[in-house]
C-alpha cells in the first residue's frame, strides 16, 4: 500500500457531524477455518458476502493466494482482506526475488501483523494464514489489531463458534489429509447452517509438503437453488420504450483521432528523408 489518500476525510467527517454517518462497507459475516494434518495444512471458507441483512454475493472467494504455497482465508471487511492479501503477495514475491529463497509463512505473518498493527485495527482484516515452506507446514491466525495465534486448528469470523464446536469435538492429533479435509468442510458447514452471516458453499485449499497447493473451489455445494415454479420471461414489447439509439460499441468518432496517431505508414513517414 503505497499510501492511502485522505482527501475526502474532512468532508466525510463534516457530513458525519451533520447526521450523515459513513455507510458500512461489505463486512463479510464469515466462517473460516484452518487445520493441520500430517504433511500439510488445509484452510476452508464459506462463500457468502453480506451487506447488512442482504446477501450481496452468494458465491464469493474468501480464499486468497499470497504465494503459490501460502494461502489465506479472510474475514471482516471484504475489501481490506482482498487488498492486504494482494499487498502481501507482491511484497513477498519481491522479498523472495531479492533473497533468492522461497517465501516463508512466518515472514508473511510478520509482514501482515506489522501492517495491521500500524493501522490500529482500522484495516479490518481477520485472517487465517497457512502454507508450506522450507520449514514445513504452518498455520496461524491474525486479528485486525495485529495480534497473532498459532494452532493445530483455528476458526475465525461470525461463524467461528459454530465451526469451533465441530473442531473441538472432532479434532485429534495427527489427522490424515482426507480426515482434515472433511473436518474442515464439516466445520464450515456448521457455520453455513447455524450462522446467518455465513452461507452457500464450501471453498477449500490444501497445501502439502513438496506438492503444489490445490484449491478446491466449491468443494461442497449443499445450497443449490431449486428450480423455480414458473418462468418469468416477458413477451417482447411488454416494456414501453420512448426513444431508441443503436451504435457500435466503441464510438467511431472517439477512436478516429486516437487511431490516426498510431498509424505507422512507411510511405508517409519518409517524406522528410
Amino acid at each position: 500500500m503505497p499510501g492511502f489518500n485522505f482527501d475526502n476525510y474532512q468532508r466525510n467527517n463534516f457530513l458525519a457531524s451533520k447526521g450523515y454517518p459513513i455507510p458500512k462497507a461489505t463486512s463479510t459475516g464469515t466462517t473460516i477455518v484452518g487445520c493441520r494434518f500430517d504433511g500439510g495444512v488445509v484452510i476452508a471458507a464459506d462463500t457468502r458476502a453480506t451487506e447488512g441483512d442482504i446477501v450481496a454475493d452468494k458465491n464469493c472467494e474468501k480464499l486468497h493466494r499470497i504465494s503459490p504455497t501460502i494461502w489465506c482465508a479472510g474475514a471482516g471487511t471484504a475489501a481490506d482482506c482482498e487488498f492486504v492479501t494482494q499487498l502481501m503477495s507482491s511484497t513477498l514475491e519481491l522479498h523472495a526475488l531479492s533473497t533468492g529463497r522461497k517465501p516463508r509463512v512466518v515472514t508473511c505473518l510478520t509482514l501482515l501483523k506489522q501492517h495491521l498493527f500500524k493501522y490500529q485495527g482500522h484495516v479490518g482484516a481477520y485472517l487465517i494464514v497457512a502454507g508450506v515452506d522450507p520449514t514445513g507446514p504452518r498455520l496461524f491466525s491474525i486479528h485486525a489489531h495485529g495480534s497473532t495465534d498459532v494452532g493445530y486448528y483455528l476458526s475465525l469470523g461470525s461463524g467461528s463458534m459454530a465451526a469451533m464446536a465441530v473442531l473441538e469435538t472432532k479434532w485429534k492429533q495427527s489427522l490424515t489429509k482426507d480426515e482434515a479435509m472433511s473436518l474442515c468442510a464439516e466445520a464450515i458447514e456448521a457455520g453455513i447452517w447455524n450462522d446467518l452471516g455465513s452461507g452457500s458453499n464450501v471453498d477449500m485449499c490444501v497445501m502439502e509438503v513438496d506438492k503444489p497447493a490445490v484449491l478446491y473451489r466449491n468443494y461442497r455445494t449443499p445450497n443449490e437453488r431449486s428450480i423455480k415454479e414458473k418462468s418469468y420471461k416477458f413477451a417482447r414489447g411488454t416494456t414501453a420504450v420512448l426513444k431508441e439509439k443503436i451504435r457500435p460499441v466503441v464510438d467511431a468518432v472517439q477512436f478516429d483521432i486516437f487511431e490516426e496517431t498510431i498509424i505507422r505508414d512507411s510511405d508517409k513517414m519518409e517524406i522528410d528523408s
Binding site: D7, R11, D57, E82, Y232, T239, E244, K245, I246, V249
Partner: protein, 205 residues
C-alpha cells in the same frame, strides 16, 4: 435514509444474457425528498466498459471524470481500448485508495470483452471490494427491491431482446417501490458489436 449515499437517490442494475449484457439506471436527482432533476443518467461508457454509478451525486460526477481521465491515460499508454475486467480493477483500486475517506458510491460495471467475447458484469462496495457475479448485480437506493426483482425474474441465457424486457421490468418495478429512485429510466443492451440504448416510459412520480 440518513447516510450520504442516499441523499440524492438513484439506482443501477446490470444483467448477463446469452452473449450479451445489459445495464440500466433511473434518471432522478434529488435532494432528500425533493426531486431536482429528471435528466440525471448514471451510466457512463469507457471504451468497452459501461460504468453505472449511484450514490452521492457529487461523487458520481467526480468519479466519472476521474475515470474518464484515467481511461484516456490508459489509451495513450497502452494504445488500446480498456476491457471491462481491466476497468473493474481500475475502479477497485481507485476506490480503495480512498479507504479512509471514501467516495459514497455504489458502482456497477458491465461490458463484453472485445477479445474473448465473454460478457462481464461486477459490482463494488464503496471502498472497492469487487462482487463478481454470473447473473446480475445491483446498486443504489432501491438495491433491496432490485435484488428481489432480479432474483425472481432473471434466468440464464436470455437473448438480447428478452434480456431487455427482463432488466427493464426489474428496474421499473423496483424503482416504483423506492421514493428516491425513478423519474425515467435508461437501459443499454450490449452485444459484441452493437449497443442499443433505450429510454423507457416510466411513472413520473
Amino acid at each position: 435514509m440518513s447516510d450520504p449515499s442516499s441523499i440524492n437517490g438513484g439506482s443501477v442494475v446490470a444483467m448477463v444474457g446469452k452473449d450479451c449484457v445489459a445495464i440500466g439506471c433511473d434518471m432522478r436527482l434529488g435532494m432528500q425528498a425533493l426531486t431536482v432533476s429528471n435528466d440525471f443518467p448514471k451510466i457512463f461508457q469507457f471504451n468497452n466498459a459501461f460504468l453505472g454509478l449511484t450514490g452521492l451525486a457529487t461523487d458520481v460526477i467526480t468519479l466519472s471524470e476521474v475515470f474518464r481521465y484515467k481511461v484516456n491515460l490508459y489509451n495513450l499508454r497502452e494504445e488500446r481500448k480498456i476491457e471491462p475486467e481491466t476497468f473493474a480493477n481500475l475502479v477497485s483500486s481507485s476506490l480503495y485508495e480512498k479507504r479512509f475517506g471514501p467516495y459514497f458510491v455504489g458502482p456497477v460495471v458491465a461490458g463484453i470483452n472485445s477479445k474473448s467475447g465473454h460478457p462481464y458484469i461486477c459490482g463494488f462496495d464503496l471502498i472497492g471490494c469487487i462482487n463478481f457475479a454470473k447473473d446480475f448485480v445491483v446498486g443504489g437506493t432501491s438495491s433491496e427491491q432490485l435484488f428481489g426483482m432480479c432474483e425472481s425474474l432473471w434466468e440464464p441465457d436470455l437473448e438480447p431482446d428478452d434480456l431487455f424486457e427482463t432488466i427493464s421490468q426489474a428496474l421499473l418495478n423496483a424503482q416504483d417501490r423506492d421514493a428516491m429512485s425513478g423519474w425515467g429510466a435508461i437501459v443499454y443492451i450490449i452485444t459484441k458489436d452493437k449497443v442499443v440504448k433505450r429510454l423507457l416510459k416510466t411513472r413520473q412520480d
